[in-house]
């Protein structure tokens, strides 16, 4: 074992121990509510209020119930579609914007970055009312595009800033090398810059996807039917089997179901975020 700062192996051991204890604590703290929801979703309706963390009996009745209902599968489809479209559009646009901001010298570069930031600071609730009326007039109310557009608008600043920061770190001499090697400006971008910018692009994509996936405000205000209502909004419309029953079990099951795609997306993209990808490009 290598020793640093003369502390010896004991110091190293203590460091490892503290790191592990800290990590376990943070994970425990963050995952406890999730585990509770998962536990609730697996309890049969009669045991929901028994106050036990581990279910006495495991039942999938809530899952069956939400998928038998027409509302939830439609909402899930909407959520996946709307969040994916928002991510693709937003990241694609942000890539071009960030590329231009980093690479080209033009008037108003700072204005664009500043403008993007001011949009990010703008409270979404302030545009809900006008947007509601506007969308009803132009026919975007309760459609996928009616949600994709505001999601793009509010995630673009974040994506542009993230990508600008990433693009600044790219060794741009590679682009010149590609141009000399016979690439058009677009080929240089596609074959050389995009693979190097990929970690940044995936980071931006994750952030945009999470925003769109989790949003409740726009989803609740700009939809009215199963045509475009996303899961967070749909969950609010869940009802119990009678007026005296709270839909706790169904809500829990729906929460677990909507968390799964998010985890999958993050795990998928995380594998692409490889640190040190640019090592060895320049300098000896």
């Amino acid at each position: 074992m290598t020793t640093k700062e003369g502390g010896g192996p004991r110091r190293h051991l203590l460091e490892t121990l503290l790191w592990k204890v800290g990590s376990v604590f943070v994970i425990f703290y963050a995952l406890l509510p999730v585990a509770w929801i998962a536990s609730l979703s697996l309890k049969p309706a009669a045991h929901l209020n028994d106050g036990r963390f581990i279910p006495r009996e495991v039942s999938l009745e809530h899952y069956r119930r939400i998928f038998q209902d027409v509302q939830f599968p439609a909402a899930l489809r909407n959520s996946i579609g709307i969040a994916s479209l928002s991510t693709v559009f937003s990241v694609a646009l942000a890539m071009f914007a960030a590329y231009a901001i980093v690479r080209l010298r033009f008037r108003g570069r700072r204005v664009i970055l500043g403008g993007a930031l001011s949009i990010a600071m703008f409270p979404p609730i302030a545009v809900i009312g006008p947007l509601f009326n506007l969308w009803r007039t132009v026919g975007l109310f309760d459609t996928w595009m009616g949600l994709v557009l505001p999601y793009m608008t509010f995630t673009l600043p974040l994506a542009i800033w993230t990508l600008t920061a990433y693009f600044r770190e790219i060794p741009w001499e590679l682009e010149r090398a590609a141009r000399v090697d016979g690439a058009t400006p677009f080929q240089a971008f596609r074959h050389v810059i995009v693979p190097l910018a990929a970690p940044g692009v995936f980071t931006a994509a994750i952030l945009v996807f999470i925003f769109a996936w989790n949003d409740f405000l726009f989803a609740a205000a700009l939809t009215s039917t199963n045509d475009a209502r996303t899961v967070p909004a749909a969950v609010a419309f869940f009802t119990g089997s009678s007026r005296f029953e709270l839909p706790t079990g169904s809500i829990s099951a729906a929460s677990v179901v909507v968390t799964v795609p998010l985890v999958i997306v993050i795990l998928l993209f995380q594998r692409r975020i490889i640190a040190g990808l640019t090592a060895g490009a320049v300098k000896g």
């Binding site: 090697d181 080929q187 060895g280 490009a281 320049v282």
Partner: protein
């Protein structure tokens, strides 16, 4: 394979900065042409204009007589090696070298064959499936060369390709580059700030300073017949010694010695005021006497010098000397001119009543620091420059 000509090329960047001024250059087919100069002299800008990464503000560039001034880099079929190598980090060595061919739409089998041939020439065979991050500096340099030669370009453009390598590897790669170029016979334009690299590599050398061409010629010509003070000071190691000089009748007065008038200065009424700047190559100074011991051949008039520092290089010894400049001719303009030049070339300026000289003598010379020497010099080997313009007069 192509000759490249630049005609009245000027490059201005936004603002008033002029990187290259009215440049005329002829690069012959199949030669190694060196652009050399201190940093900021515009040599990299010239390279970028030749390859098409920058557009000249004025003037014209021709390749084999065809104007290419406004052609996109991808249509010029030139290969460039960057100072940083600029390898694509996400591609293996094979993919890096195949990249230009892939863009050119060469067939897969053909690409494989060409990459493997280039890899064999550069001894990269075992590294083809590694990524640049796993290679040493010298190996990366080779890959960059490989990417350049693989598609048989009309010219190689190298931008300080060896400056990131250590001294030993640099010398080795230098000979390898020459060997490669001779083998392929492709025109090579090579940018460097190192005059030793320029002298050893180049068929022709262009010396640049502040965006202006100072002189073009073979290494031998630049060394023997520098056209001005700057070239004389830039070429050679250690650099040329510059001293104020005065012509008085049949005598040439230097700060430390009086010499018979050299052949080149006789019958030159145009040099009437008689004030000049003399340049002495360190290798033209000879040790005549160490202490009281005779050491070398008689070189005519001698002068005394104190040895301040001795650098033993093996075959040669560099001596840094101090001479008494008691009888220095007073020449304000020449001194000003010299001081500016010395600063630009990064040389120490001599002040006060003493002057510093450097000499390069045979390694066998039994000279030690602090000693007193008698030195001689051949007046006909001196270089003379106009004190105002800096142009060589004889």
């Amino acid at each position: 394979m192509a000759g490249i000509t630049l005609h009245a090329v000027t490059k201005r960047f936004s603002g008033d900065a002029t990187a290259v001024r009215e440049l005329d250059l002829t690069i012959r087919d199949g030669e190694i042409f060196i652009l050399v100069g201190p940093s900021g002299c515009g040599k990299s800008t010239i390279l970028n204009m030749i390859v098409g990464l920058e557009q000249p503000s004025e003037g014209e560039i021709r390749v084999d007589g065809q104007p290419v001034t406004n052609l996109d880099p991808k249509d010029r079929n030139m290969a460039m090696v960057f100072q940083s190598y600029a390898l694509y980090p996400h591609m293996t060595v094979r993919e890096n070298m195949a990249f230009p061919l892939r863009l050119a739409g060469v067939e897969r089998d053909k690409i494989r064959e060409k990459v493997e041939r280039a890899a064999a020439i550069l001894e990269l065979g075992g590294l083809l499936d590694r990524r640049p991050g796993e290679l040493s500096g010298g190996q990366r340099q080779r890959v960059a060369m490989g990417r350049a030669i693989v598609r048989e370009p009309v010219a190689f453009l190298l931008d300080e390709p060896l400056s990131n390598l250590d001294a030993k590897l640099r010398a080795q790669m230098r000979t390898e580059i020459v060997r490669l170029q001779r083998r392929l016979g492709t025109t090579m334009v090579y940018v460097t700030h190192d005059q030793a690299e320029a002298m050893t590599l180049g068929d022709h050398i262009a010396v640049l300073r502040g965006g202006s061409l100072q002189q073009v010629g073979t290494p031998r010509k630049l060394y023997a017949e520098p056209e001005n003070l700057f070239v004389a000071g830039f070429i050679g190691s250690p650099p040329t010694n510059f001293l104020p000089a005065v012509v008085e009748g049949e005598v040439l007065r230097l700060p430390m010695v009086e010499l018979p008038l050299p052949q080149g200065l006789r019958n030159r009424p145009d040099l009437d005021p008689g004030e000049l700047i003399a340049g002495i190559r360190p290798e033209d100074l000879g040790v005549v006497k160490v202490g009281s011991e005779e050491a070398g051949t008689d070189l005519g008039p001698t002068f005394r010098a104190e040895v301040e520092l001795v650098e033993w290089m093996g075959a040669d010894v560099y001596l840094y000397l101090e001479v008494d400049a008691g009888s220095a001719p007073r020449m304000a303009s020449a001194s000003e001119k010299l001081r500016g030049l010395m600063q630009e070339l990064g040389l120490s300026d001599s002040g006060g009543g003493k002057r510093r000289l450097s000499a390069r003598v045979a390694g066998a010379s039994p000279v030690v620091e602090g000693e007193s020497l008698h030195l001689g010099l051949d007046p006909d080997r001196l270089l003379f420059f106009h004190p105002e313009t800096g142009e060589r007069v004889a």
